[in-house]
């Protein structure tokens, strides 16, 4: 295998970061959602491509703690500021990134070309990773973003492994990262206009903030869109003549996965494999890290590829209590 793969795990707290590194992650990434941002912009996916306070770190003390933990483990902590920002947000974003750098942060994930260019012009010490939301589908795009200061490109989920190999082979020598577990959306994430906010489903228990009122009245929560029913990719839909289709996504029991293709991903020029799922329960992410660490270690060895693939598929079954299915594969090998 060409590259020894590193594993990047999502976290929402310093405690989760510590557990992720202990389970075998090499890197962690997190989003930031400050109270003053929520007060003006609500808690939809306008600052990172993730909604809700539980999916984010909400103060710089926690962010600094994550940076210290990463450093202590010899790993990397990345701040995901991977939305694209209106003129109403940009000053706050650049200030937050600057503060992250001052606190000892190591890297930042961005999709906004203006932010990337500003960090390059500022000669930031932070490693600048280009998010998959920027839509880098070819070597020339990677080269263009390299000129703005990117040192890593996270490739879109929608590239085949063959296309990844073509891209990394022709592009400038930056690092390449690919998602390999969880949240395989049918739509191209960086090109999707469906918006994400926390839904408050009727009748199904959910986590959200609420406050008590005077006796005799129900506690209350508030929302700019009380009727929000979920991400567009998760809603039932139908064509005029067809049956209602219910999108299925169960990352807890049968996640989309590329663990048995780690050898091919390494050969295709990928350096870092990423677990998606910021905001998932900590034990779900820890289980994912353990699973992927084992799969990555097996993929590094000398055993024949098919033998390793079979073992990893059995590991999937043992880990998630479900067999892996072809429609759960994260990547096609090629376009056929």
């Amino acid at each position: 295998m060409t590259n020894v793969l590193k594993i990047a795990a999502p976290v929402s707290s310093a405690a989760e970061a510590e557990r992720a590194f202990c389970e075998g992650a090499d890197e962690v990434y997190f989003g930031l959602l400050l109270p003053e941002w929520v007060a003006t912009f609500d808690d939809a996916d306008l600052w990172t491509r993730r909604q809700g306070k539980p999916s984010h770190v909400c103060d710089f003390e926690e962010a600094a703690a994550i940076a210290r933990i990463a450093s202590a483990h010899g790993g990397l902590a990345s701040l995901a500021m991977n939305a694209r920002y209106s003129r109403l947000q940009i000053e706050s974003v650049l200030e937050a990134i600057q503060r992250w750098e001052a606190l000892g942060g190591q890297a930042v994930v961005v999709a906004d070309l203006g932010v990337l260019a500003a960090l390059g012009a500022r000669r930031t010490r932070l490693r600048c990773h280009v998010s998959l939301l920027a839509g880098v589908f070819n070597a020339r795009s990677a080269a263009a973003l390299r000129t703005l200061g990117a040192c890593r490109v996270i490739l879109p989920r929608e590239l085949t492994i063959c296309e990844m190999r073509q891209l990394t082979g022709a592009a400038p020598p930056v690092e390449y990262e690919a998602l390999v577990l969880n949240q395989r959306c049918p739509f191209i994430d960086g090109m999707c206009g469906f918006h994400h906010r926390q839904s408050l489903p009727q009748g199904i228990p959910a986590e959200f903030e609420y406050r008590h009122r005077e006796p005799g009245r129900l506690p209350v929560t508030s929302s700019c869109d009380p009727a929000y029913e979920g991400h567009g990719c998760r809603l039932p839909w139908r064509t005029a003549a067809g049956p209602v289709r219910l999108p299925r996504c169960d990352d807890y029991h049968q996640p989309h996965c590329a663990a048995c293709l780690l050898h091919e991903l390494g050969d295709a020029g990928i350096h870092v494999v990423k677990i998606a799922g910021r905001g998932y329960p900590g034990e779900v992410i820890q289980r994912a890290v353990r699973f992927l660490r084992t799969a990555a270690d097996w993929s590094c060895g000398d055993a024949p590829t098919e033998h390793v693939r079979t073992r990893i598929r059995q590991l999937y079954r043992d880990t998630f209590s479900s067999p892996c299915q072809p429609d759960r594969c994260y990547y096609r090998l090629d376009n056929s």
Binding site: E158, L167, F187, H195, L200, E229
Partner: protein
């Protein structure tokens, strides 16, 4: 105000449209770009009658990149003022460095807030009482909260419309960007030497890489077996009732909003129309 209309090279109209410019190519799928000889024929037809020409190109993989470059080289000598709209940063950068065409950022990269449910935030309807259950078992009343004016403005604006981004893109040789006429309205400031095209009929909501994400494909068939060039009406089930979308190949479109009341104040110098079935209720 310049007017433009889409020309579907797969189903060419009987007569040339009475507009200033035609758009042709494909906005979302590199496999559905016209063959070079068809593209050249369209270009010649249009320029012979004084129509300006815009080639629309989506994001590209490496396998298609060089072919598109050759196509642009071929077309750029046929039409004065030849323009390329692209949702590929690499193509925009390469064409900009070689000054082969006027350049515009495509709608997949301008990344507006295209979800029509955002109108429930910017123009909230009267809400019936609603309740939610917390994980701790509490039954909680959900109160509607008015969006701040800043949030409303944010949803109407676009990341491209920042002075620093415009300056960067102009350095790359890009001079304009494509915008959807979103339901919640559009708020743009622009900059010197920068303007926008407003697609008035539809909102490009989302896109899949392959059509099999949008349709059932028998196992073993290629992903492109589900290619659907006929507009297909979809309905999303939302709290406010069915949300109408139109599937065109690998993308979903919503209906454009009403003509912006502030159109005269926007840095928009071109209106783009698509002859498409209006998404019904």
């Amino acid at each position: 105000m310049e007017t433009a209309v889409w020309w579907d090279w797969r189903k060419p109209p009987a007569a040339l449209p009475q507009v200033d410019r035609i758009y042709f190519g494909h906005e979302t799928c590199q496999e559905l770009l016209p063959p070079p000889d068809v593209a050249e024929r369209i270009c010649r037809l249009a320029t012979d009658v004084g129509l300006a020409v815009t080639l629309v190109v989506p994001f590209l993989t490496d396998m298609r990149f060089d072919g598109v470059m050759r196509l642009v080289e071929r077309l750029s000598v046929l039409a004065g003022g030849f323009e390329v709209v692209s949702s590929d940063w690499g193509l925009l950068a390469e064409l900009g460095s070689r000054r082969l065409a006027d350049l515009s950022v495509g709608r997949l990269l301008t990344a507006q807030h295209g979800d029509s449910r955002i109108a429930r935030i910017t123009s909230p309807p009267a809400a019936a009482p609603r309740y939610a259950v917390h994980l701790d078992g509490a039954l909680v009343e959900v109160e509607p909260r008015a969006a701040t004016p800043t949030l409303v403005e944010h949803y109407r604006s676009c990341w491209i419309d920042r002075p620093d981004v415009i300056e960067l893109l102009q350095q790359w040789g890009i001079s304009r960007a494509e915008m959807s006429n979103t339901i919640q309205g559009v708020s743009l400031q622009g900059s010197l030497g920068w303007s926008y095209s407003l697609h008035v009929d539809d909102v490009l909501v989302t896109v899949a890489r392959w059509c099999d994400a949008l349709a059932q494909v028998p196992r073993g068939e290629s992903a492109c077996a589900a290619c659907q060039s006929v507009e297909q009406r979809w309905q999303w089930h939302t709290a406010a009732g069915p949300l109408a979308l139109v599937r065109l190949d690998n993308a979903l479109f919503g209906c454009g909003g009403p003509r912006p009341e502030n159109l005269g104040d926007l840095p928009v110098d071109r209106l783009v129309k698509r002859r498409t079935a209006e998404p019904g209720g």
